[in-house]
């Protein structure tokens, strides 16, 4: 149940990555990249209706790990990728959606900060706290 959460910018570079199990860092990054491809596919396919809680459930990416990757894309092509370990009772769709909503709200708050330059890594403590709480909770 390691939950990894990442915020990917429009240009597909990460703005924020946080994962609970430290060793997943790399794996997670790899997974995120993989998921990005899928996300892009979906985006191109969907056309307009891409925002909203786009959820990308990749299913079992890695057999052993059995985790799922969820995706959420915003209007500005900012992607929130969340990896959840399936060992933890699969979170319901609603839960995932609510988590993404919270993520999105926090991200918006970060954006509102005039001291934050879009494109910078997110260093907001509030955002960190929120993400941490989510990860802990999810776990």
């Amino acid at each position: 149940m390691a939950v990894c959460i990442a915020v990917i910018a429009k240009e597909n570079y990460p703005l924020y990555i946080r994962s609970t199990p430290t060793e997943n860092e790399l794996k997670f990054h790899y997974m995120v990249h993989t998921s990005l491809d899928v996300v892009d596919e979906k985006i191109s396919a969907m056309g307009k209706a891409l925002v909203d809680q786009r959820e990308l459930y990749l299913g079992l990416l890695y057999p052993t790990e059995d985790y799922k990757v969820y995706d959420y894309v915003t209007n500005s092509k900012v992607k929130f990728v969340m990896v959840v370990d399936s060992s933890n009772t699969a979170l319901r769709d609603n839960e995932i959606r609510s988590m993404f909503r919270k993520l999105h709200n926090s991200y918006t708050d970060v954006m509102c900060n005039p001291f934050y330059n879009p494109g910078d890594r997110i260093q907001s403590r509030a955002f960190d706290n929120m993400v941490t709480s989510m990860m802990i909770q999810v776990c």
């Binding site: 918006t108 708050d109 509102c112 005039p114 001291f115």
Partner: protein, 717 residues
């Protein structure tokens, strides 16, 4: 030393701290000493104040000129370094003040500052010291603060700088302070003041860097609410605010604020964090409160305070008006907020009463409507009559109760949807009873009306509006009225049962009972037959449910003797039934009966039949109605739900019979339930009867056909 003392005071109060910082700058020479003392002082902020005073004085004297040495002495007493920040301000302010005519504002600020800080006293004393020295060393203090402030940008003129810094600093004053810190060794001294880390700031200058400021942890602040904004500070902030945004009630856009705070030379990350903390409503703009909070945080940070993770209460924007959020929560404590704009107490969104009672009502009504008795129109005339009557009753109920019922239902639903629903059931049952009773003279129209009424009631209680005006209807609301005259009213009940029971269609046979009778009457006739059984039951049930009461009344009317108490329908049915059976004219009889019943009911049902008394069939209706009305009146009382009652009242008004008190809640619900049950039974009976009739008819048909055939051959032949 003086500076140290001053700074100490500053710890106490932010402004003082700042002043102190300034002083530090001023007394750079003396800083080292001060710092040390400050450091020591930090440990005991409180006591320091006291001592600081002395120290301050001495410090002032010394520092201004060259007191660094004396600092050491202060150590013991040094007011909590935290005050440093404030001290700086204090001194700074003092200095500024003193040298300038604006001393006043400084002083008040510093004194204010000090109080806030743990050792408020010291600040004061400190200030005084400052003054004194300022008097003598006015230059120094000025210069001191000056350097602090001036670096920020404005004229750095020593003396004027201080002042200018203070007041004329457009650039964020805090920056000045900060700058001063950075620039001047004083900052370092201040830092040292911080008991926490500053201790080593020997070289004030070196410390000058913001880091020192950060290090300076104001102990004093730890004692007191370190985040309080002194009046002085606040004034300063407000001034700064106005330089950016003249309108104090307006916002400072993010970009402007960014520039402003960037001048403080704090790391962007910290500024970002400060922004997050202070922009309470996350709108990307700063209100005056938010701005003050942000400014304060910047200053504190500059002075070495760590940024909190969460916005301190004292910094919560008081302008709740805007956000109505809990920002206000903190205002109370803030002393320093004297200047804070009226903090609109967090007028949290007025707790929406969230009364959507209407909704429930609607729901109920819908229910009622849905429930409307099916009004099984009996084949048998009597039944038909009954049905009609019921319908009428129900219809009347509907009409009357409908609205009220509906309303009630909604109300009820709000409060207790059950009630309404119950009512209906009860009403329905009753209604059924009525329908079955047929006896009700209620004309088919009545039945229809009853039905309709029931339907309307259905909202409240699925009155079986079906055939006979759903006696149940009265239940929902009837409980109120019905209780009174349940019996009587079929007609009344209708009115009464408004809530649950559709005001028994006053149209009910008794028709005479316009409002209630219809319902009850209808019920009665219909119910009469079927109700007989029902009535028996219903009455019993009715009593339970005020709604039923209405029905019972109906029945009463119909049967003119239904147990009034019992649910309207129940009562009505029995009454109706017997009455109807006895006399098909049922209506008329019923009317009579109802009248009698109504009266009886009124007497009896008044208390019991809450709502149902509504349908005092025809004649009874009147009396019943009265009862209903009384019931209604009672009901409204009973119904606590004002809404419903209101609705009911309205309904009642329309249907005198169905007082359905929306508020009947449980009672009504129960009554309506009973009524519905009764109605159900009645309807069931009706159904069975009808089926039998059907069979009979079929048989007849068959026989006729046979005969025909027999004849035919003959004919052929």
């Amino acid at each position: 030393m003086e500076l140290c003392g001053a700074t100490r005071l500053g710890y106490f109060g932010r402004s003082q701290f700042y002043i102190a910082l300034k002083l530090v700058a001023v007394a750079q020479s003396g800083f080292p000493l001060r710092v040390e003392s400050i450091n020591t002082v930090k440990d005991l902020p409180l006591p320091r104040f006291v001592a600081s005073k002395n120290e301050q004085e001495s410090r002032h004297a010394a520092s201004y000129s060259s007191d660094s040495e004396s600092q050491g002495s202060y150590s013991g007493v040094i007011p909590p370094p935290p005050g440093r920040g404030q001290v700086k301000k204090g001194p700074g302010s003092h200095d500024a003040v003193q040298p300038r005519p604006s001393a006043d504002q400084q002083e008040p600020a510093s004194p204010v500052v000090s109080p806030q800080q743990s050792p408020p006293a010291s600040p004061h004393t400190w200030r005084k010291h400052n003054r004194h020295p300022s008097g003598g060393n006015s230059e120094r203090p000025l210069t001191g603060p000056g350097p602090f402030w001036s670096p920020f940008g404005d004229a750095q003129s020593g003396s004027s700088a201080g002042d200018a810094v203070w007041s004329g600093h457009s650039p964020p004053p805090p920056q000045e302070n900060w700058v001063s810190f950075a620039d001047t060794p004083p900052t370092s001294t201040l830092l040292t003041m911080h008991p926490a880390s500053v201790q080593d700031q020997t070289t004030v200058r070196t410390v000058a860097s913001a880091t020192t400021a950060n290090e300076i942890r104001r102990q004093s602040s730890s004692c007191d609410d370190p985040w309080k904004i002194t009046d002085e500070q606040r004034q300063y902030y407000i001034n700064q605010f106005t330089t950016i945004q003249p309108d104090l009630n307006g916002f400072i856009p993010g970009s402007a604020a960014k520039e402003f705070f960037t001048k403080s030379k704090l790391p962007i990350l910290e500024l970002s964090h400060i922004w997050e903390l202070s922009d309470f409503d996350k709108d990307g703009a700063l209100t005056l409160d938010e701005f003050c909070a942000a400014f304060h945080l910047v200053v504190a940070r500059k002075n070495g305070y760590d940024l909190p993770e969460k916005l301190p209460e004292s910094l919560m924007p008081k302008l709740i008006d805007l956000e109505d959020s809990a920002d206000v929560g903190d205002q109370p404590g803030e002393v320093g907020y004297s200047g804070s704009p009226a903090e609109a107490p967090p007028s949290k969104s007025p707790s929406m009463p969230s009364l959507n009672q209407t909704w429930p009502e609607l729901n109920q009504s819908s229910e009622d409507t849905a429930i409307v008795h099916p009004v099984p129109i009996r084949m048998t005339p009597s039944k038909i009559h009954m049905q009609e009557m019921e319908l009428k009753r129900t219809s009347s109920d509907h009409t009357n109760p409908t609205s009220p019922l509906l309303v009630k239902t909604s109300d009820l639903s709000e409060e207790s949807k059950i009630n309404s629903s119950v009512k209906f059931p009860s009403g329905n049952t009753v209604a059924d009873g009525y329908s079955s009773s047929d006896s009700f003279p209620s004309d088919p129209e009545q039945i229809g009306s009853n039905v309709t009424r029931q339907r309307s009631h259905s909202g409240a209680s699925p009155d079986n509006t079906a055939p006979p005006p759903p006696p149940p209807r009265p239940q929902p609301s009837h409980s109120r009225s019905s209780s009174l005259d349940m019996n009587r009213t079929f007609a009344v009940t209708t009115g009464q049962q408004q809530a649950g029971v559709v005001a028994h269609p006053p149209a009910v046979p008794p028709r005479p009972q316009p409002s209630q009778a219809p319902g009850p009457s209808v019920h009665r006739p219909v119910d009469a037959d079927g109700l007989i059984t029902h009535t028996s039951t219903s009455p019993q049930q009715i009593p339970e449910q005020p709604n039923f009461a209405d029905f019972s009344q109906f029945e009463v009317f119909a049967a003119s003797n239904v147990t009034e108490e019992q649910d309207n329908e129940a009562e009505k049915h029995p009454d109706v039934l017997p009455a109807e059976k006895a006399s098909d004219p049922a209506g008329s009889l019923r009317v009579a009966q109802t009248d009698g019943k109504i009266e009886e009911k009124t007497a009896a049902s008044v208390p019991a039949n809450v709502s149902k008394g509504t349908t005092p069939l025809a004649p009874p209706p009147k009396p019943v109605r009265r009862r209903l009305k009384s019931e209604d009146e009672l009901r409204p009382d009973v119904d606590e739900h004002t809404q419903k009652t209101g609705v009911l009242a309205a309904v009642l008004a329309s249907q005198p019979s169905i007082p359905r008190s929306v508020g009947k809640d449980k009672k009504a619900i129960q009554a309506s339930i009973r009524r519905n049950k009764e109605t159900n039974t009645v309807l069931a009976r009706l159904n069975s009867e009808l089926q039998q009739q059907l069979k009979d008819v079929l048989e007849e048909r068959i026989s006729l056909e046979v005969q025909l055939e027999q004849l035919r051959p003959f004919s052929h032949l």
